[in-house]
């Protein structure tokens, strides 16, 4: 059953094989697996259980009650305040990401119900410039929190982001401060914020809004941390444990509350929401 009423969203499989065959090779176990099985299985490898990326829309489908999602993403799009250009201009990058994903930026916000409990949900999409947080993503998160306050319901953010968006410079860095400041108003209103960290939740997103959940749940297989492995390796000649910045690492060191499998996430959220909100 469609979760969106009037919109057609493009489905892009991140791990699409160049020959567009019906089969794909799992990057984790190396098995050739039937793509349709992977999709039916919430983008999970039927052979080894490895998770592949979910687009924001697929993630929403997985979490919310059928036909309950009403998108409230603000009709805004990235500006180019610095006139930024590296090998490509920033507006070009944004246009490409929009064409690739069918999204306006790296996040979708909406009202939804999870097993009957109304929530405001924000879901980030890693395909859009690495899920990076610039002015638009920051504003959308704030808009989601403010809508949750207006409607007196919990806010859930599913992060999938490499961090701040470099192309907007300090404007992006300041989105950390902005989302944190707005997050505080949700607490003042007595409403819960559940932060779901998926692969990857790193950099400026991990060091701001995502780490401030009343409860933080990681999806199994998540990457959680501040500085990237490459940065740490180049700055420090340090041996890093094999599970460095994994869900297990974050759990072991007390950065998150629980680790949950993809299939169980909806039930988990429902169970948790039950402590804060009475089901209708």
């Amino acid at each position: 059953m469609p979760i969106f009423k009037d919109k057609e969203y493009l489905r892009v499989d991140l791990d699409r094989e160049p020959d567009e065959s019906l089969w794909m090779k799992c990057k984790s176990c190396g098995e050739l697996v039937f793509k349709r099985r992977v999709r039916e299985n919430n983008n999970t490898c039927p052979s080894c259980g490895e998770y592949f990326f979910l687009t924001a829309v697929e993630r929403i489908e997985l979490l919310v009650d059928d036909a309950s999602f009403e998108e409230i993403t603000k009709p805004i799009t990235a500006d180019d305040p610095l006139g930024f250009s590296d090998r490509k201009s920033y507006p070009e990058r944004v246009a490409e990401a929009q064409a690739k994903t069918g999204l306006s930026d790296a996040i979708v916000i909406g009202r939804a119900a999870i097993m009957g409990v109304p929530v405001v949900l924000g879901v980030m999409d890693f395909r859009f410039i690495g899920g990076s947080m610039g002015s638009v993503v920051g504003e959308q998160i704030c808009h989601g929190i403010e809508t949750a306050i207006e409607e007196r319901c919990p806010f859930i953010l599913v992060s999938s982001s490499g961090g701040a968006r470099v192309q907007e410079g300090l404007f992006s860095l300041y989105q950390m401060a902005k989302t944190v400041a707005v997050r505080a108003t949700l607490a003042e209103a007595g409403l819960p914020f559940i932060s779901v960290m998926t692969y990857p939740t790193t950099g400026g997103v991990q060091a701001s809004i995502a780490s401030l959940g009343d409860v933080i749940i990681a999806e199994r297989g998540a990457l959680i941390g501040f500085a990237g492995r490459r940065v740490i390796r180049s700055a420090m000649t340090q041996e890093l444990p094999s599970h460095f910045q994994s869900d297990a690492f974050a759990f072991e060191h007390g950065a998150i509350d629980r680790v949950v499998g993809r299939d169980g996430m909806r039930d988990e959220l429902s169970l948790l929401l039950g402590f804060f909100v009475e089901a209708p």
């Binding site: 799009t77 300090l170 300041y174 950390m176 060091a207 501040f226 500085a227 740490i232 060191h253």
Partner: protein, 318 residues
């Protein structure tokens, strides 16, 4: 900067002549005057039109004054506080009670080392989770007693390492930001050297954000941006230009409130002059902020951050 060495040599020469002039009774006034004029011209030429990458190098200059250099000149009776009460004391972030004029304040500063030995202790000014948690503790102390908070930002970034991640450095930064967003006393943040990414912002959510003229403030180092975006580590000069990381540019963009002038050639050319300009600006800003009731102060800080960001109305698109 190779030209800077020429200036240093010339400066030393003038000093030498002055010494001769005073001790040997030889009249060198004319010669000294001539050399001083030349020095001034060279300085103008070298520093008046620094490109952004040169500015980055100046912000990281080994002689550049560090947080404690300013703290010792601008404030009286600095009384350092140590430890996060959980896990240790990060020497890369110093904090304590002090007086600005006669007023008690809490001051925080990211502290780089001068010698190799000191840098080992201070982790080159890279703050660790213990540092952010100590900062948070100091800010809450300030709030309890109604003391304004002044933060001096100077870090390449938060300390990237295994121990940092084990102690959840991202969470520590987030908690620091959350504390600052609701703190019921005035906060003034000053970027005195390097404002390196989230590790800098972590003590930079403030009612007023100031920058020294040659300081830089950026979401990512030009070196890392060059590697990630240009795929070429040699292109940090272009990256520095693209990032808009200089004080004057950030003032134009409305992301900082004021730029504090430095002597030509950089803060290290005359630390007293720089410190005095810093003190004047701090007093000016804090006097203004002191007029606001705590609730109003927090509300205005909220409004400031709620509105930060630039985007376009998508319905305008063709």
């Amino acid at each position: 900067m190779s030209d800077e060495r020429t200036l240093d040599l010339l400066e030393a020469k003038i000093e030498e002549l002055r010494h001769l002039d005073a001790t040997d009774g030889i009249d060198l006034a004319k010669e000294i005057e001539r050399l001083e004029a030349k020095l001034e011209d060279l300085r103008q030429e070298l520093y008046a039109n620094l490109n952004d990458w040169e500015r980055v190098k100046l912000a990281r200059h080994p002689k550049r004054p560090h947080a404690l250099d300013y703290i010792n000149v601008v404030f009286n009776d600095f009384y350092e506080l140590h430890g996060d009460r959980i896990d240790g004391d990060d020497r890369a972030l110093v904090t304590g009670l002090a007086r600005l004029g006669n007023h008690p304040v809490v001051v925080l500063g990211q502290q780089k080392g001068r010698s190799t030995e000191e840098n080992k202790q201070r982790f080159f000014g890279m703050t660790r989770p213990q540092g952010y948690r100590k900062a948070r503790r100091a800010m809450l102390l300030a709030e309890r007693f109604g003391f304004p908070v002044i933060t001096l930002i100077d870090t390449p970034g938060a300390y990237p390492g295994l121990e940092s991640e084990e102690a959840n450095i991202g969470g520590a930064i987030a908690e620091s930001l959350l504390t600052m967003s609701g703190l019921r006393v005035p906060i003034v943040a000053v970027v005195i050297g390097e404002g390196g990414s989230g590790g800098a912002l972590a003590i930079g959510l403030a009612d007023r954000v100031l920058m020294l003229e040659n300081a830089v403030y950026t979401v990512i180092s030009p070196e890392s941006a060059a590697v990630i975006l240009w795929k070429d580590k040699e292109r940090m000069k272009e990256a520095a230009e693209a990032l808009n990381l200089t004080a004057d540019r950030l003032l134009d963009l409305g992301l900082v409130d004021a730029v504090i002038p430095e002597p030509l050639g950089g803060a290290h050319k005359d630390i007293d002059q720089t410190a005095s300009a810093l003190e004047d600006e701090l007093v000016r800003q804090l006097t203004e902020l002191a007029k606001l009731e705590p609730a109003k102060l927090v509300e205005e800080r909220y409004r400031r951050y709620r509105s930060v960001g630039r985007y376009r109305d998508a319905t305008e698109d063709g």
